[in-house]
């Protein structure tokens, strides 16, 4: 009986040891993660501005370099397939499609997860939706046709929509409609950033999208020439290419937190 008692006492200790040492596998992983984290996250934060000041909706207070006084009643656009570029040129790719809506706070907050540790020096992303996804309407989430960002008579996403009003050259208040899209409008921008150091942590990367840059840098856009830009005629190809070339300057690095 004494022997049995001794045996069971050893066995109990052994079981407790095994339980402590191994436990369920899930617990083990959690323990390991807190010790060494090989990846971090970036909260990409995109603000919408005009001349550096956050956009106020429905205010006829903005003036572009062409001298047009205009307002922003609606501003929505697609950004997709984000790439963070390391100092050594290696890349982290995120296959995401994000719809930014200037009217909704929080729509410019984009989570880029599982980023390998390292120092990043630029961010690359696309304006619009790539041709693989652009001609397919039965999609959900940010690409859902319910967002009102798709042409149904000619399947394709509206990459950027700016609607509002402006004062034309005859001093009349006119409607402004800019619906930018089609495959030729698809473009990529690269924004240089301060050293973004990821060491298993979370960083906030702040960018601004500036509407007046979109209408001026380097190509000036005058709403008097066309205030209903719909991307659906041969004559639209010119303004599409002019605006397309302005996107790179329109995204401005604002800091890392």
């Amino acid at each position: 009986m004494k022997n049995l008692n001794l045996f069971s006492s050893i066995l109990l200790k052994l079981v407790v040891f095994i339980l402590l040492a191994s436990g369920c596998k899930k617990t083990e992983e959690t323990v390991q993660e807190t010790i060494v984290k090989e990846t971090g996250t970036v909260n990409l934060s995109i603000s919408n501005t005009v001349d550096g000041i956050p956009v106020e909706m429905n205010q006829l207070i903005y003036t572009n370099t062409a001298g047009n006084l205009y307002s922003v009643g609606l501003l929505k656009y697609y950004l997709s397939n984000f790439v963070l570029v390391k100092q050594d040129g290696s890349k982290e790719v995120f296959n995401q499609y994000e719809l930014i809506d200037a009217e909704l706070s929080g729509s410019g907050e984009i989570l880029l997860a599982d980023i390998k540790n390292g120092t990043y020096k630029s961010i690359i992303f696309n304006i619009g939706v790539d041709s693989l996804r652009n001609h397919k309407g039965d999609q959900t989430g940010d690409l859902s046709p319910q967002n009102g960002m798709i042409w149904t008579w000619n399947t394709g996403y509206i990459f950027l929509k700016h609607e509002g009003s402006y004062v034309n050259s005859s001093s009349e208040n006119n409607n402004l409609m800019i619906h930018y899209g089609t495959d030729v409008a698809f473009t990529t921008v690269e924004v240089a950033i301060d050293d973004l150091v990821i060491e298993g942590n979370s960083k906030k990367l702040k960018l601004a999208f500036d509407l007046n840059k979109l209408y001026s840098s380097p190509n000036q856009v005058d709403f008097n020439d066309d205030d209903n830009m719909q991307s659906n005629g041969n004559s639209d190809l010119l303004w599409i290419s002019r605006v397309r070339d302005n996107f790179n300057d329109s995204f401005i690095f604002k800091g890392i937190e």
Partner: protein, 353 residues
């Protein structure tokens, strides 16, 4: 002894604790899936390929049919897809040149018939819709047609318990999104197969099916490059079209740019999708703008009345004007009428019930 029992209990409970999680995981994977549906394709039509993200299911097809006939998808809940795509006209719109939308607004092109859609890559006369699924939302949104906001349509569906259940059964979703409306209707439309006309049955050697001398003569003239020369574009048999965009010289200067509006390429101005000639007897009036009321007018166009426009299809450009006489054109029309599929227009599976 008591300690020993505690030991075994501890060991046992450790295993149980870990195992329990596994059981739960299995449960999540065992969700009910919709029932796959195998579409019957009659001899004479090609194999149909389905999109990976939208295979046919019994639940999806039934839901698509219900949506096809439900006016809930229009702005004032007054018309459905079925209002302008009627089964007894092979799902074209009766004899109207242009269909009438809500608020009595009139469309700009003739409503196309619906059958054998799974063989086609692009939709509408100008091919503007890139997939059958993508096509669905255009008439819903078009102010001249059903004029409904997509979010409104989806909100209305989400407010109906029956629809929530039908969408869950078909797609395993809790909240209805427009993407699944598009997929359901596309599934139903892919089942609309027409391949049981007199011509098909004759080709298959079915018992008691005869073609008259005039119909056979018409078939000969249909393929004869010196006469009908229909075969170049409306390939004999199978889908009776290659679905390529062509200008058939309807106007010396195209009034409607057609395909050119989509590609923005002047080379495509005045081009429209070559339609199938199946059920052509039922789908008057003809051409993208429904300008011809009878098949005789269509034959006259291809025989003598076409214009030598910039983008005129080369096969037509090289055809001799006046190459057919009245009798020959009547023979071709007699043959075209053998392409009417009465089983299709009476098929209970496509009826609104």
């Amino acid at each position: 002894m008591g300690k020993l029992i505690i030991c075994f209990l501890l060991i046992g409970s450790t295993f149980l604790a870990c195992k329990k999680e596994d059981v739960n995981t299995d449960k999540v994977l065992l969700e009910t899936q919709p029932t796959p549906y195998t579409l019957f394709i009659p001899d004479g039509l090609p194999v149909m390929v389905f999109p990976n993200n939208n295979p046919l299911t019994i639940e999806g097809i039934a839901l698509g049919k219900k949506l096809f006939y439900d006016p809930i998808l229009s702005g004032d809940n007054s018309i459905s897809c079925g209002s302008c795509h009627k089964q007894n006209f092979a799902f074209a719109d009766s004899s109207l040149q242009y269909s009438i939308g809500i608020n009595n607004l009139v469309g700009t092109r003739n409503a196309m018939p619906l059958f054998n859609l799974g063989y086609q890559g692009k939709f509408f006369w100008d091919g503007g819709a890139a997939t059958l699924e993508s096509q669905v939302i255009a008439p819903i949104e078009n102010p001249l047609e059903m004029h409904e906001n997509l979010t409104n349509a989806v909100n209305e569906l989400n407010a109906i318990d029956e629809y929530k259940l039908l969408f869950k059964n078909a797609f395993n979703i809790e909240v209805i999104e427009i993407a699944y409306v598009m997929r359901a209707i596309a599934q139903f439309e892919r089942t609309m197969i027409s391949g049981n006309s007199k011509y098909d049955k004759y080709q298959r050697g079915e018992e008691g099916i005869e073609m008259s001398d005039q119909e056979l003569k018409g078939m000969q003239l249909y393929v004869d490059m010196e006469k009908g020369d229909c075969n170049h574009c409306h390939v004999l048999g199978s889908t009776f079209s290659d679905f390529v965009f062509r200008s058939t010289g309807l106007d010396s200067i195209p009034v409607d740019k057609g395909r050119g509006l989509i590609t923005l390429n002047t080379f495509d101005d005045g081009k429209f999708k070559t339609p199938s000639l199946r059920n052509i007897e039922l789908t008057a009036p003809y051409m993208h703008d429904g300008r011809f009321v009878t098949l005789e007018e269509v034959m006259d166009h291809y025989n003598t009345n076409f214009h030598y426009t910039t983008n005129l299809d080369p096969n037509l450009a090289n055809s001799q004007k006046g190459r057919m006489n009245e009798q020959e054109m009547q023979d071709i029309i007699a043959f075209l009428k053998t392409l009417t599929d009465y089983e299709f227009i009476n098929n209970e599976n496509f009826k609104n019930n």
